[in-house]
Amino acid sequence: MTNLLEVRDATKIFRNGPFWARDTTTAVDKVNLILTAEQPSITGIVGESGSGKTTLAMLVLGQLRPDSGSLIFNGKNIDAMTPAERRRMRREVQPIYQDPFASFNPFYKVDHALTEPLRNFMLANSRLESERLIHHALELAGLRPAETLGRYPHQLSGGQRQRIMVARALLCKPTLIVADEPVSMLDASLRATILAGLQTLNRELGISILYITHDLTTAYQICDRVLVMYAGSVVEFGTTEHVIREPKHPYTQLLISSIPSVKQTQQWADTVALDVDQISPDSPKANSGCKFAPRCHSVMNNCWTTAPPLSQIDTDRAVACLLY
């Protein structure tokens, strides 16, 4: 049985500046990820800004080419695809973007975003059929077609617009949805409904979902598995319960302890010392060892010299840390 998606040692390096003073940033560093076809899952990719999660999403969507490593979709390497296969992949892997306001062309009514995929991928044979498909998709996304169609984007709320984006993705009959921070620009009260929607798409329609976020609480609520990224590398990967209940990597532990809780009993302790080394993760010191070492509270001597490999520590968890 072939896997839906295999990411093998994918690496993406961005180069900046003129050739004599070239500045390179490794946005994604040898990332591996397998999504099986028979068990559609929701996989969370968690990390802070600049950790490479959006770059990984763009690799999966085929918008960027990896510098090394490979992406294999339905058993076919993306680089070796025929135009027809490439087109099919473009239809089957659908994105949902962060900003429901910018995702619509203000010139058109929202219908435009829904009729375009049907037209381009030739998914409807008649006007009537395309209407039926659009109504069905909108209903699946929890919208009433009569209250949605024929309006301009600015006449709808952020939550409604994001639902239309979900409906748009559904029209393409995807097998994989890459949702890049789909709720971070929405109110907490709307987040819940959109996320519940994604969860149902996965369970009822068997669509695999890559859920990219910096918010561990939402990832905890909907994901089956969580992959934690730091500076382009995977630092921890496992089932949600394991990773979030008993985080092993010091970075995952830091992330989880920083989540603000409504419960007053779980106060933000002043435990994180506020020295400057810790507040500038954007400039990780170049070292040949673990990238997290400068911020790590349990750093050891060999952390500075040896890069920790991602190693399986129990049946469904892998950690890249020399502590294990």
Partner: protein, 672 residues
């Protein structure tokens, strides 16, 4: 349509002038004898009279006929040049903006170098070399030197709209690159193309009239420029023959005014923000009745510890259609020294508007219609750091009554703002030191250099930054460090009140915690009050002492953070804190049914009743007033004082009509 004309009066005035000029030129031949325009067909040098309405020139031509015949060729040159220019500009601008790379570099190089060449000189050279220039050729020549402007404008617009998320969505929808260019990017450019066309037409007319007045360009036709040339040749000015040169100059001026009005209003249509800025800034206080203030501001105790008290504040927005809506409606509360109030509510509930009103920064179409923001000061004292001193009198001042000059002094020193994307508020070309110094110098004129340096170093240290940061530029700092610099600027003048509008929304959880803990430390150190705006209840729970819940512009609950979150009294507060996913248990996700009401279409009675699971008849008819239900617990809800706490939710209250369902029925719809 009438609405459109009322908004853009320049558009009609411009069109009427232009059409009038054209109509004159087309209709004149029907009523007058235009054959009189030929040389010597009338007596020479006659002043205007009943027979020759605009007189005749030295060669015996009727000026009215000449004028009528010269308008169309003049406009024709302009339109040809404008059309050709815009076609070149559109093609090159689209291609170079969209595809970029070497093509883009080349187009921009050529356009930039041509723009540095004085085009009128080139035009003079070309038209002296070319014999017998026709109107069409003249238009083309002018166009060749006028395409650079439109090209650059359109390229810049393409570049910005190419990066919008909707082009990415179009690609995901299976559109090809060309389809993205023509179907997504191009339509959004149309207003710019129109405005750019009109301004190239007027540029071309200016250039051609200038050339013709020098005796160059299309000479075998009547144009306005040629008439001026002949008037000059025959020294019409010296001879006092104003009827010869006056009318063409008047017509040219009219055409320019018309084109300017058209182009300006097209700009406005393309960029609606300009209309808003142009609207007159009014800070109107209508009569004395408006400032009648009820003093039921929910606060712990109103005493000398009170830093700020907001009383019955009302901010109204007006649409062009004349409807009004209150974005902040009768909000009252007060804050003590050292207190941090979390202001929560969904987006669109008026949180930011309230903050802006407290800084007196509401711009039209918004307007503060009533209420006051009272900032406490110790009268006659130089320092506000010792509020307990007994011989000083506590006085408060309604800062909304101050004029703009005095208000500017209050901002930063009395009330300061940490804006939403604070890291983007720094000037990228100024060192951190200079930016902080600017803020200080704007308020204190005689600070010595050494004093300034100490102040800056102290301020930087207080937000946890090393003093060396002062010499850096913003781009040399990380996101969290920039946020700290913005906080440093906001607190360097020791304000009494800090308003932080989602200060950490762009940061991840780790950074969020560090930045927020620092901000609280500085606030406690200054003993200032703070308003923390956010929609994340967890964040507010961790960072605030008390909470104010805003719904549809009204304060619905106010109390100590711990008590409010443990036992919320208002149903909205309860639903808001329930919608937050936590790490305790993986429970089914729930949101609040429906959406906050629209500003211009507020429900009757309690504004939350359409979404409230507890709503009963009284809620639909009567607006609940803020009531005290315990020590420093205020709530605006009809459930109280009948109940002592929020009762168990009534089961199965049907959704209000028109609201979106909050539980999504995927399961049922997926099967058919």
């Amino acid at each position: 349509m009438t609405h459109f004309f009322r908004r853009f009066p320049g558009f009609i005035v411009g069109s009427v002038i232009l059409l009038g000029t054209l109509l004159f030129s087309v209709l004149a031949p029907l009523v007058t004898d235009t054959s009189l325009e030929a040389v010597a067909s009338a007596p020479p040098s006659l002043a205007p009279s009943g027979l020759y309405l605009l007189g005749t020139d030295a060669q015996g031509r009727d000026m009215l006929s000449v004028l009528a015949l010269s308008i169309v060729p003049t406009l024709k040159i302009g339109v040809i040049a404008g059309l050709v220019g815009i076609c070149i500009g559109l093609t090159l601008g689209l291609l170079s903006g969209f595809f970029g790379g070497p093509l883009d570099a080349m187009v921009i190089l050529v356009a930039d170098s041509l723009m540095t060449v004085p085009s009128i000189a080139i035009l003079i050279i070309i038209s002296t070399k070319v014999e017998d220039v026709s109107v069409e050729l003249m238009g083309l020549i002018v166009a060749l030197l006028a395409w650079m402007g439109p090209t650059r404008t359109i390229r810049a617009q393409v570049l910005s709209s190419r990066e919008r998320a909707y082009t990415a969505v179009a690609r995901a929808n299976g559109s090809s690159e060309l389809a993205v260019l023509f179907r997504e990017v191009l339509p959004n450019l149309l207003p710019f193309v129109a405005a750019s066309f009109v301004s190239s037409v007027s540029g071309a007319i200016l250039a051609s009239v200038g050339l013709e007045a020098l005796g160059l360009g299309a000479q075998n036709v009547h144009t306005l420029g040629n008439t001026i040339y002949w008037a000059r040749r025959y020294s019409a000015v010296l001879r006092g023959q104003w009827w010869w040169y006056g009318p063409p100059i008047l017509v040219i001026s009219l055409i320019f005014i018309a084109l300017f009005l058209l182009s300006a209003s097209l700009d406005q249509i393309a960029n609606p923000a300009m209309t808003r800025q142009a609207a007159r800034k009014r800070r109107k206080k209508q009569g004395g009745g408006d400032l009648s203030i009820s003093s039921d501001a929910p606060s712990a105790i109103i005493n000398t510890d009170t830093v700020v008290s907001v009383r019955d504040l009302r901010v109204v927005f007006k649409t062009n259609r004349g409807t009004t809506g209150a974005a902040v409606d009768g909000v009252s509360f007060s804050l003590n020294r050292g207190e941090c109030m979390g202001l929560v509510g969904e987006s669109g509930c008026g949180k930011t508007t309230l903050a802006m009103a407290m800084m007196s920064l509401i711009r039209p179409p918004g307007q503060i219609t009533s209420g006051g923001v009272f900032l406490g000061t110790l009268e006659g004292s130089g320092s506000a750091h010792n509020p307990i001193s007994s011989n000083k009198r506590w006085a408060e001042q309604n800062i909304l009554e101050l004029d703009e000059h005095h208000m500017r002094r209050i901002r930063l020193k009395g009330i300061s703002l940490v804006p939403q994307a604070a890291m983007n508020s720094l000037n990228p070309v100024m060192r951190v030191h200079d930016q902080i110094a600017d803020a200080i110098n704007a308020h204190q004129h005689k600070t010595s250099r050494i004093g300034l340096k100490t102040m800056i170093e102290e301020a930087l240290t207080s937000v946890g930054l090393p003093v060396t940061v002062a010499n850096r530029f913003p781009h040399q700092l990380s996101g969290g460090m920039k946020q700290r610099v913005a906080m440093c600027i906001a607190t360097v003048l020791r304000p009494q009140l800090i308003i932080a509008d989602e200060p950490t929304s762009a940061l991840d959880v780790v950074m969020q915690r560090q930045v927020m803990l620092t901000l609280r430390k500085v606030q406690k150190h200054l003993n200032a009050a703070m308003i923390l705006i956010g929609h994340d209840m967890g964040f507010i729970a961790q960072a605030s002492d008390s909470i104010g819940v805003l719904y549809a512009g009204q304060l619905v609950e106010r109390g100590p953070t711990a008590a409010v979150l443990e036992a919320p009294r208002h149903p909205y507060t309860h639903l808001l804190s329930e919608s937050l996913p936590g790490l305790d248990a993986r429970k089914p996700l729930s949101g609040i049914p429906g959406l906050p009401p629209e500003l211009f279409n507020l429900p009757s009675g309690c504004r939350f009743h359409p979404r409230c699971p507890y709503a009963f008849d009284r809620c639909i008819t009567e607006t609940p007033a803020m009531q005290l239900i315990g020590t420093f617990r205020y709530v605006a809800c009809h459930l109280y004082p009948k109940h002592s706490s929020l009762p168990v939710r009534p089961a199965n209250k049907p959704d209000a009509a028109g609201d979106m369902k909050h539980t999504i029925n995927f399961a049922t719809s997926a099967t058919h």
